[in-house]
């Protein structure tokens, strides 16, 4: 009984998507022009089988995913270093903060023409875009995490006569961990979006974005829809995976 209830509760999240799919299906049956804009589910199903059979979906997803991971890694490491430096050193802050906050205001989309001009439209340029997208939120959250360390814990460290390294590893880093995890979560979301986004603008290579661009050029709307759903599901899955992981790792945080 309880089991049934909890299943029902979990299924609530599926209610809205199911309604949307139903509405979609109804819309697709309202004439030929509607059937082009709202591809019938049966056509989408055929397209999906085709993409899975010829391996396009897997290859595209992996290409986008790989770029996300590498870009995320670079962005997160750079963000950790810059964020921590700005928080812990007054000189670093005065040096880096103005440039950082200025650049941060420019949407990544606005940087793409410049990046394409300087670095071409190959994988390297896309990686740079993804890394930048991950770098911004990572830096901000790391900075916040390190600056909002409770003064009271630093006093304990002083009373116990810890050296700088001990203060860093025992107080600053664990104290900032929650913020850092938040930063990675944001960075992950931005990295994934900009990984697919970069493919829409720099159209060489492979990925889910390229798959969609090519499908649009070939008037294969069902593949575009599959691409959209796939991007959404992948992003959602990664977000869930990482939130659960951090919740487990940071379980000493009550609530």
């Amino acid at each position: 009984m309880n089991n049934l209830l909890s299943h029902a509760r979990r299924a609530r999240g599926l209610l809205l998507p199911a309604l949307l799919v139903a509405a979609w299906e109804v819309a697709s049956h309202q004439g030929a022009s509607q059937a082009y804009a709202f591809v019938p589910l049966s056509v989408i199903g055929q397209g999906l089988t085709e993409l899975i059979r010829n391996g396009d979906l897997l290859i595209s997803t992996l290409a986008s995913l790989q770029r996300t991971c590498i870009g995320l890694l670079i962005g997160v490491i750079a963000g950790l270093l810059v964020g921590a430096a700005m928080a812990l050193s007054a000189i670093a802050e005065r040096l880096l903060a103005p440039l950082y906050h200025m650049l941060r205001q420019v949407p990544i989309l606005g940087l793409i023409p410049l990046i394409a001009l300087w670095f071409g439209s190959q994988e390297g340029a896309k990686l740079l875009i993804v890394s930048l997208a991950a770098f911004y939120p990572m830096t901000l959250n790391t900075f916040e995490g390190f600056t909002h360390i409770d003064r009271r814990y630093r006093e304990v460290a002083r009373v116990l006569e810890w050296n700088t390294w001990q203060v860093f590893t025992q107080v600053l880093l664990p104290g900032a961990l929650r913020s850092i995890a938040n930063g990675i979560l944001h960075a992950l979301a931005f990295a994934w979006v900009s990984s697919v986004g970069s493919e829409l603008f720099l159209s060489t290579g492979s990925g889910l974005g390229n798959l969609m661009m090519n499908a649009e050029a070939g008037a294969r709307m069902e593949i575009v829809v599959i691409g959209v759903v796939c991007i959404g599901l992948m992003g959602y899955a990664m977000n869930q995976l990482f939130s659960r992981l951090t919740r487990h790792l940071l379980r000493w945080r009550d609530i």
């Binding site: 009271r152 006093e155 002083r158 009373v159 116990l160 025992q170 000493w252 945080r253």
Partner: protein
């Protein structure tokens, strides 16, 4: 119950209580750019192994005084010495238990106590042994691996006391260590602190709002007055430890102290 074990360990470690001497200590904070005197002309001598209680109205500078002795505040005038050595900054010779336990939420009870030994030359085994002994000392066996948020207020406070004691400071400062506890836990914690003090014999200075607590534990009770914070009155508690909580002499002293405290309130 583990008295024999504790005794053996105490015998095997050398640590001596410290003598504190404070002369003409004054301190002011800046409030809206205006200097505000928090402490003025504090003179205090504490003998090795003595237990001194400090009571006084809220805001009279008790915490400030402890923070100064701990070495957490700079910028003061006057002179403070522990065993003849001037106090300039923090030192492992002076331990402090803050009013809020200040355990690190990301560490377990055992880790929280062990980190106090980061600067200690002891080997890993010796440290582990000492941590286990101090967990026993404050009766937290079975909670070694609990995180602070899983402890009651009293348990967290006991862990904090263990963390302060494990470095074997010559002088232990306690800032309202039982302030947040219910009456019953408070009484049992007082008994435990008394037991620990009798065993450890380190010099202790405890700030409290509770006159009975001050008298029950202290060899001497100091009454502070506010604005500026200064020592107004001192009383010797001439009873041997461990004490009987309801001793008639304590009742008499309590009346005197309450009159003094009420007097300092009436001045305002």
């Amino acid at each position: 119950m583990n008295a024999s074990l504790d005794q053996r360990w105490l015998a095997s470690t050398s640590h001596s209580p410290g003598a504190l001497q404070i002369r003409e200590l004054s301190k002011h904070y800046l409030l809206d750019g205006q200097p505000m005197e928090v402490l003025k002309g504090i003179d205090l001598r504490v003998k090795p192994g003595e237990f001194v209680s400090i009571v006084g109205a809220s805001g009279c500078g008790k915490s400030s005084l402890l923070r100064l002795i701990a070495g957490l505040e700079s910028d003061y005038s006057g002179d403070m010495q522990l065993d003849g050595k001037a106090i300039t900054t923090t030192s492992l010779e002076r331990g402090i238990v803050f009013q809020d336990h200040r355990l690190f939420p990301w560490k377990t009870v055992a880790q929280n106590i062990a980190i106090a030994l980061k600067r200690s030359p002891l080997t890993r085994q010796e440290k582990a042994l000492r941590v286990a002994e101090h967990i026993r000392l404050v009766n937290l066996q079975g909670f070694e691996n609990a995180y602070p948020h899983q402890l009651s207020g009293g348990m967290a406070q006991r862990a904090a006391i263990a963390r302060a004691l494990i470095t074997q400071p010559k002088l232990l400062l306690l800032d309202e260590p039982f302030g947040a506890l219910d009456a019953l836990t408070r009484i049992s914690m007082q008994r435990e602190l008394q037991r620990i003090w009798v065993q450890h014999r380190s010099t202790m200075i405890m700030v409290t709002h509770d006159v009975e607590e001050a008298l029950y534990l202290g060899d001497r009770v100091i009454v502070m007055d506010a604005r500026p914070g200064r020592i107004k009155y001192e009383i010797d508690v001439d009873l041997p430890h461990p004490r009987e909580r309801h001793a008639p002499r304590l009742q008499e002293l309590k009346e005197i102290l309450l009159t003094e405290l009420a007097g300092s309130d009436a001045d305002k």
